[in-house]
Symmetry: D3
Subunit: 146 residues, 6 copies
């Protein structure tokens, strides 16, 4: 399952961050009635919003010198710089460059967050394992990169 | 502390409900710059949103016939009919009648929810004790009616 | 509000314990149809059950010698000996002496737990402040002793 | 690991639902003493119960038209119709058709829920990935279908 | 109960912050054996530690201009500057000025945090209502200032 | 993915336990300045600590006689005897035999816990699937044994 060659032991480490954002689920090429029919109250033209909880899991070998896979302070900075700062207290449909021209579903947002973080995680020599994104306490999405 | 006359024992019972809404903190009579200065990123003109958690506490005597203070199914219906259905997946600034002409702060929202629920709770012969409203896991407001 | 005379500072301390129990809400002097009408699915004659979470709050002065109000290990033992061991994995309607002849509502259970614990807490020189009992994550009852 | 052919990206989406039920762990072909010895207090003949939390995870490609894997409103309806409505406020040993002649362990319940949901999920063109079932906050079972 | 004169409506607002610290419960004027007898494993001379969760509740009138009781960003800064920065990743017995010469119990820590925060909250024109301090998920202390 | 031969259905079962411990992240062969530079406030020579939450997942076939994969009471005993009792209210750097000469990172602790538990789980005929260890609510590590 893992294509990386490990001489040591594979560990997974996860960091949780949060953000609050507005969105709506509606296609601009559909009528309001069609959007309402497909997306229900999530299509409200005046927006609604969520407290999203984001869990980023990276994996790789433990560095024997530090006992760390990656420095969590670094991981926190990366997630905030490339994701949270761009979407916290924002409108996902109108203001987020990496969601441009995409439906603002939790599924699409999780995939977009993966694409934003991947190069920065890999540059550090770790593997991005998964993005887990809670829209509410009762719904979450996971993406493993393919 | 309680002004009601109780012949039995006073009990408090709490029901939790949730809703998701968009809002912004901004006064229409202030410039964008002034709103930004006072409210920070909460003033974003394109809105942001939250998963609000609402705890409604009522108090009174236990009915010896049922062992209930009030029927929780009834309390759930009242909270949903008079509050949640009016604000879930809505824009607190634009679409909620009982927030009209008010700043959409958690404080004002908790007070407005109290005012909405009070007559319906009292009609049932119970006392409304408190509204506790979480905006995020780290912030909440409580209102006791005066 | 507090009738005790304190020479030091009043502190509240809370211990959480849990138990799992079966119950039904039904009066033996009512017909099944009447019970069903009043209590809905909670009246199911074949029982249902819950993971109850119990929060016991005691209050009083901090003992300057130990920095404790009461020893939490002692409080844990008291709650388990006089409450949890009698109701965990039990049927609240059939097997719990202090619920005999009472409707097995959360309200009545909280009051009965207060009555069970009060003498043991007072014997230790502390005040029992409240019993908070969660039936589910969305419903809880609080009792302050009068 | 996945036997489905995906032209797009695989996403996992999870919906949480809850139910309260009574049960006991006891084999009818064993004596009470034997049941007590093997299952301990879980064998109490008068039943006990739990608030179960159920997480259903489905996987598949995101529909480019809606940004959804599946409509969560639909998933919620399916889980409630085929599982929750049949076991909520019920006795797992006596009243649930799909638990008939099975020991009412969390393991067996998770497998039975998988079997109930599988045809309805597949009919919608999605894959059922896992059933995760919490009996208490400290114990849970996961089943991946084989 | 409230000695303040309010022309408007009283609201309570709570901010949660967290910190991790080491401590032990042991009196320097007692022998190890005596400390072990009274404090049990909490007296371990080599220390143990906790993730503490701190809830600070302030109360007062809502400012009609902002819809705020106090600015939560300000409250967060105050709590971090005067409390969290002084105790996070620290040893409560050895390194925290406001715990000097005190037993490092949760009770004493909650009272000391009250004393640290009170002047800064009052300077802002709000009232400090309570300090709620979780040592673990199962134990917490509340202090109301007298 | 699973190398075991199963005639029945594979189930995963997880038990959560908790412990409180002190630690620091610092190499004895580095200067304080170097440790401070690499590990930040986690290198505090006077220690800090955490409430760790430990999730142990075992997998295997359900025993048709009991409906159990393993008896959770047994799993609880094993985890407490071989892990929790050795590290609860302890100093991970100074007092835990299986952490001797290792950096007390969450990664290393999770791997060491795996090594401690593996023989006892296998002796029971089950497979150890994963160790999931929360250091705080925002950080956790998972180890799958290779």
């Amino acid at each position: 399952m893992y294509i990386c060659v490990l001489f040591g032991k594979m560990i997974h480490i996860t960091r949780k961050e949060s953000f609050n954002a507005a969105h709506k689920l509606a296609r601009p090429d559909w009528t309001d009635a069609k959007n309402q029919e497909v997306f229900g109250k999530c299509a409200n033209p005046n927006w609604h919003g969520h407290n999203y909880n984001l869990y980023v899991t990276v994996k790789g070998e433990v560095n024997p010198e530090t006992g760390f896979l990656v420095d969590l302070k670094w991981l926190k900075v990366i997630i905030n710089k490339y994701v949270v700062d761009k979407i916290d207290h924002k409108n996902l449909n109108l203001e987020v460059d990496f969601m441009k021209d995409k439906l603002a579903s939790t599924e699409n947002l999780a995939i977009a967050i993966w694409d934003e973080l991947l190069p920065h995680i890999e540059k550090e020599g770790a593997y991005l394992h998964s993005i887990k994104l809670y829209e509410t306490d009762n719904n979450y999405v996971e993406y493993f990169g393919n």
